[in-house]
């Protein structure tokens, strides 16, 4: 067995360096990561949350130049473990004006590590539009004015041409028009179809006048502590992903099967939560996972070192007026975003999905926004005149796309809608306001009807990173929770959401995809330890994740985001009128669920602050001091 790393050495597989860029002064420099910091934060969201908390005070709002945009990867990035090109974006986001942790894949994390960095921290605001070019030690802010107006795929094409690098030799993450125009739910998209989508991180990038980050696959050596051990761990993980009944479906078809499955459980969001019944005219056989895959010419579009048959690109078929166009195969949430707008033709959704990615828009938020517009139009709360002559009826993809084009340029009604569904509905007011789906913090749910799945409803409302932070249960037995619960049980739900906290954040520290970490945490620790030389076990991994959660929660509390905002809007928390969850009322139990969640998570019920004993246990003594004073 290989010896553990000496104290003071950079852990195996990590660069030990953070690239710092001040866009205001064009200054770039590097800072080092001590072995202790590396072990405490691990990388990704752990590293990002620490920097965000340390460097962004309460008065620095999402669009303030001193806000930080942190693009971090983790110890598994660049290693021969499935799905390890990962990027985590951490910032103070535009939707909640609070902490953000959002992930994407492709090759960004790999290229960054091969260039010798674990993370990039961007601050300041450029005087004019630039892109960041990284090739090992060559780090430059370059003129991006000619890239303005280009979407994220066009931007990547242009930089591939300009730099003469193709394929995975260059990873580009950029913003499209939505980010340039500070659309509040703008995302950061890269490598043709991968998107860090949550909490308006693309608007933050736009506020810094940073069009893109382009990273050449560098030449820095990246030596794991125990190379043979890494391959062995990778084998264990890939074997489990291929054979475990939970993940076999993911391995073969990604998340495609969710569309046909979720209506059976009342979890497919149909027409802005106005119904849970699929219209009988829709042939659901075309929505089975295999049918969606086989319905188009397709080819794999894998991320670094990935063997999953998950990410694909497809060619739009003859049923589309855009037949022949190559688009990204939507994930479940891409399809469900269409269903929220009543779009039931796969080719329409596939086309729209890529329009959203190219424009750099969070497709979840877009689905809730346009679903709301369509319902308001149907009910007369919004008129054709208010919508600049567009008549958005349920299922009309062309109308959705027309509104998208206005939103990403903030033209006409697009300027209102670019603020997102919460702010737009509040501005319209009256009965229209009651139809909008969002949390009071300002973010919106993932692509499900959470009224049938209270774990995700609670998780979305209490999560501190702009989206869920516990996520669906994976190997819950490792964290002392039962294999399954009734997802509408007001006691078991908060027990799960709080009791399983930590795992997902830990995964987001690693520089890998959460679909390739759907295995036992013990297996993930095998890989992390082989790479780094650590002796991390499951309790430590969970503790790392809880540390991330506590840091982001502390950041939010400091920014004035407290428990009073941890609840759903009227429609988001409404009672389904039909379908499998008809009559189920989550809000009757809401206060009790929150209380139990806070108790188990060890957050103060009144203020939302993580309790001092929790913070001290997590090694966050300074945070404890900041929030609670001397104890």
């Amino acid at each position: 067995m290989a010896k553990h790393k000496q104290a003071g050495a950079v852990p195996g597989g990590m660069a030990g360096k953070i690239l710092r860029v001040d866009l205001g002064t064009s200054k770039t420099w590097t800072t080092t990561l001590t072995p202790k910091e590396a072990r405490q934060t691990v990388g990704g969201s752990g590293l990002g949350a620490q920097i965000l908390y340390d460097e962004v005070p309460a008065h620095v709002n999402w669009d303030h130049p001193e806000n930080r945009l942190i693009m971090a990867t983790g110890p598994l990035a660049g290693m021969p473990v499935w799905g390890t090109g990962g990027l985590t974006v951490v910032t103070r986001g535009a939707m909640t004006n609070g902490a953000t942790s959002t992930q994407a894949n492709g090759f960004f994390g790999t290229n960054l590590k091969y260039s010798g960095y674990d993370a990039i921290v961007l601050q300041g605001q450029a005087p004019d539009w630039v892109y960041l070019y990284i090739n090992d030690d060559e780090v430059e802010l370059r003129d991006a004015r000619l890239l303005l107006g280009k979407d994220t795929w066009e931007t990547q094409d242009a930089l591939h041409e300009e730099l003469g690098l193709h394929g995975h030799r260059l990873s580009v993450y950029s913003i499209g028009p939505a980010g340039e125009n500070l659309v509040r739910f703008a995302a950061i998209a890269g490598d043709y179809g991968h998107v860090a989508s949550k909490n308006g991180c693309g608007a933050v990038m736009g506020s810094k006048r940073l069009k893109a980050v382009a990273i050449v696959r560098g030449t820095r050596p990246l030596a794991p502590h125990d190379a043979k051990g890494v391959y062995q761990a990778a084998d264990v993980i890939s074997h489990d992903l291929q054979t475990n009944p939970t993940t076999q479906g993911l391995y073969k078809l990604g998340t495609l099967s969710g569309v046909a499955n979720n209506p059976r459980l009342g979890m497919l969001p149909i027409k802005n939560y106005t119904t849970n019944l699929v219209d009988p005219s829709v042939d659901m056989k075309t929505w089975e996972g295999q049918s969606l895959r086989d319905g188009f010419d397709h080819r794999g579009h894998q991320c670094n070192a990935c063997g999953m048959h998950h990410c694909h690109q497809v060619v739009l078929n003859k049923s589309s007026k855009y037949a022949g166009e190559v688009v990204d195969e939507p994930e479940y949430e891409g399809w469900s975003s269409g269903w929220a707008q009543g779009i039931t033709k796969p080719a329409d959704t596939a086309y729209l999905n890529t329009r959203l990615d190219r424009a750099c828009v969070d497709l979840n938020e877009f689905g809730w926004l346009i679903g709301w517009v369509m319902e308001c139009y149907e009910k007369g709360y919004l008129t054709k005149e208010q919508l600049d002559g567009i008549e958005p009826r349920w299922g009309d993809m062309e109308a959705s796309n027309a509104l998208l084009q206005k939103i990403i340029r903030r033209e006409g009604v697009g300027n209102l809608l670019a603020e997102g569904v919460k702010r737009a509905s509040e501005k319209i007011g009256g009965p229209a306001a009651d139809c909008a789906i969002y949390t009071l913090k300002g973010n919106t749910p993932r692509g499900h009807d959470h009224r049938a799945r209270w774990e995700e409803l609670l998780d979305t409302c209490v999560g501190s990173g702009g989206t869920i932070e516990t996520g669906p249960a994976v190997e819950p037995g490792e964290q002392g929770r039962p294999a399954r619960i009734n997802p509408q049980d007001p006691v078991e739900v908060p027990k799960n959401v709080a009791g399983l906290l930590g795992r997902r954040h830990f995964e987001d520290c690693l520089g890998s995809c959460l679909f390739t970490t759907r295995t036992k945490l013990a297996n993930i620790c095998l890989a992390v330890n082989a790479v780094t030389g650590w002796d991390m076990d499951v309790p430590e991994a969970v503790r790392v994740g809880k540390r991330v959660s506590a840091l982001m929660r502390a950041f939010n509390v400091r920014c004035g985001i407290g428990p009073e905002l941890e609840r759903p809007s009227k429609r988001y928390g409404s009672i389904p009128v039909d379908g499998p969850a008809a009559g189920k009322d989550s809000q009757r139990h809401w206060e009790d669920m929150l209380t139990l969640y806070y108790d188990i998570a060890r957050y103060d019920r009144k203020t939302g602050r993580p309790k001092p004993e929790l913070l001290q246990e997590l090694g966050l003594e300074q945070v404890s001091q900041d929030l609670w004073g001397a104890t």
Partner: protein, 112 residues
């Protein structure tokens, strides 16, 4: 009727029929390809429980054991709904089924 559907006699004088649907990839553990749902019409004794119905199906399709069960409980890989309600609501594993009940087995909820 689906070619995989089965109507089986059960011991005892009075029998009832319930339907079990294995959705999408769960179907591959019950004799299907995993690309489409399968339905099974199960004939069981009156008073049989949800558990007995599912154990009976598992006996015919042993591969279901790995995906459906964790000891005596339902494993984490499958959502089970009886008449559209998740287990733990109107029905538990040990609730008696009624004629015409419909049990659905669906792969575990994921996002993405």
């Amino acid at each position: 009727m689906n070619p995989h559907a089965a109507a089986r006699s059960a011991a005892g004088s009075e029998t009832i029929q319930v339907t079990v649907e294995a959705a999408s990839y769960i179907a591959q553990f019950a004799g299907g390809t995993g690309s489409a749902a399968l339905e099974f019409v199960e004939t069981v004794r009156a008073g049989a429980t949800v558990r007995e119905v599912l154990r009976g199906l598992t006996a015919r399709f042993p591969k279901l054991a790995d995906v459906l069960w964790l000891g005596d409980e339902i494993g984490e890989h499958v959502e089970v709904a009886v008449n559209d309600a998740f287990l733990g609501q109107e029905y538990t594993l040990d609730s008696p089924v009624r004629a015409g009940d419909r049990i659905i087995l669906i792969g575990q909820f994921t996002g993405g």
